[in-house]
Symmetry: C2
Subunit: 211 residues, 2 copies
DNA sequence: TCTTTTCGCTACCAGACGTAGCGTATATGT
DNA sequence: ACATATACGCTACGTCTGGTAGCGAAAAGA
C-alpha cells in the first residue's frame, strides 16, 4: 500500500510529476483538518495543491479513495520495535501511536474517514486493508517477538492465536484512541505506563486458558 | 439538550405539531439505518415523516443538527447494573454498550459527531457532557458497587481513584468501540467474556500500587 | 522529429442542500 | 366573531459538489 496512485507504469510518454502526488495528499489532509469531510471539496483540494481538478481524477478514482490514501500515509511509519522486553515494546509503540493521534490534523482526518466509512462498505474495506490490518500486524509481530524471548507461551492453535491478537489489538488501539479522541486527554508517559501495567498482568495467562 | 427543536416559545399563533418532531426524528433514524448517512436525504426524510421539506428546516438548521438530535437520545438509557459481582456488571454494561454501537445509525452518527467535534470546541464540550461524562459515571458507580461488595479495595485517595476510573473507562469503552467501529467485528458474547477476563485480572492490584 | 502521455482549462450534467414566496390551516387574545 | 400571528404544505429556484468529456499545449522517450 504505497503512497500514490492509480497510474500505469509506462515509460513512454511524459511522466507524472511525483511532487504533485505529495502536494495533493498534503492539501487533502490540511483541508480535511480545517473544514471536515463536509467542507472538503475536490475543487478546493485542486486549488490548494496547485493542480487542475481533472488531475485529481486522473490519479484517484474518487474522493473517498483520495482521502483514504491521504490518511493511510500517516500510519506508514508505525513499526514494531524489538527492545528486549514486551513491556518496553508495548510502551514504545503506544507512545508513537499516541503521538500520531495527538496531531489535530490526524484526529480530524481519521475520524472523518471512519465516519464516512459507515456510509460506504467499499470504503470501509479500503480502510481495513490500508490502515487497520497493518496495525494489527504490528501486534502480531510484537507477540511473536515476545514468544521468541520466552515472555509468552507459544501458540497452541492458529485460530486462538488470531483471537488473542484481535483482542489485544482492540484493547490497545481502542484505549489509546478513546483516551485521546473521545476523552480528550493526553496519553502522557505516566498514563502509558499505567495502561501497560494493566495490560501486561493477564497477558501470559491469556493463551493458557481461563485463570 | 432536550430532544427537539430550534423553536421560539411563543404562545401566540398556531403551535407546532409536537408529533411532527417525533415523526421526523424517527424517520431520520430509520432511513439512517436503511441507507446510511450517504443515502439519507432531507427530501426523503420529509417524505417518510409525511411533512414538507421546508418544515425540516424550520425546526433544524441543517442536516447534521437533525441527525445529532435524532441519535443523541439513544445513549440515554445506558445504566449501571448491580448484579452482585463485578464480572457480571462489567459484562452486562459492555453487552448493552456493544448492542448500541452495533446499530448502523448509531455508528454513523457517533463517528460523524466526534469528527465534527474536532473542529468545533463548543460541540466537543456538548458531546463531553452529554455522552462521555455520563458513561464515565457508569464506571465510577460500578467501581463503587464492587468496593461495597469487597471485591475492590477502598479508595486511598480521590485523585488516584479518578485516575483509575479514567484508565478503566478508556480501556473498556475504547476496546468495545475499536472492536465494532474500527475492526468491524461483532462484540459477541464470547468476546465480551474474554475481554472481561483480560480486564479483571489486574483490577484489584491496580489501586494498591504497581505489582 | 514523431509519438505518447501528462496537464490545465472550460464546459457540462445530475443530484443534494437549503431558501423564497405564496396560500392555507390552526391556534390565541379581545 | 374577529384580528393576529404562527405553522404548514407546495412549487420553484439558486448554489454547490462530485464526477466526466473534449480540447490544446507541454514534456518526455524513441
Amino acid at each position: 500500500m504505497a503512497v500514490p496512485t492509480d497510474a500505469p507504469a509506462r515509460a513512454k510518454g511524459r511522466p507524472r510529476n511525483a511532487a504533485t502526488d505529495h502536494a495533493i495528499l498534503e492539501a487533502t489532509r490540511s483541508l480535511l483538518a480545517e473544514l471536515g469531510w463536509g467542507g472538503l471539496t475536490m475543487s478546493h483540494v485542486a486549488q490548494r495543491a496547485g493542480v487542475a481538478k481533472t488531475t485529481l481524477y486522473r490519479r484517484w478514482p474518487s474522493k473517498n479513495e483520495l482521502v483514504v490514501d491521504a490518511v493511510a500515509v500517516l500510519f506508514d511509519d508505525l513499526e514494531m520495535t524489538d527492545l528486549g522486553s514486551l513491556r518496553a515494546d508495548i510502551e514504545a509503540v503506544v507512545q508513537r501511536f499516541a503521538a500520531l493521534l495527538s496531531r489535530p490534523e490526524t484526529q480530524a482526518a481519521m475520524l472523518a474517514l471512519f465516519a464516512e466509512g459507515t456510509r460506504d462498505p467499499l470504503l470501509r474495506g479500503r480502510i481495513r486493508e490500508s490502515i487497520v490490518d497493518p496495525q494489527k500486524r504490528l501486534v502480531h509481530q510484537g507477540r511473536a517477538n515476545a514468544q521468541a524471548r520466552g515472555e509468552l507461551p507459544p501458540d497452541v492453535d492458529e485460530a486462538t492465536a488470531d483471537q488473542e491478537v484481535d483482542i489485544i489489538f482492540d484493547t490497545i488501539a481502542g484505549a489509546v484512541e478513546h483516551r485521546i479522541l473521545v476523552s480528550g486527554q493526553p496519553a502522557c508517559e505516566e498514563w502509558i505506563s499505567r495502561f501497560t501495567t494493566l495490560l501486561l498482568a493477564p497477558l501470559a495467562a491469556l493463551s493458557t486458558g481461563r485463570p
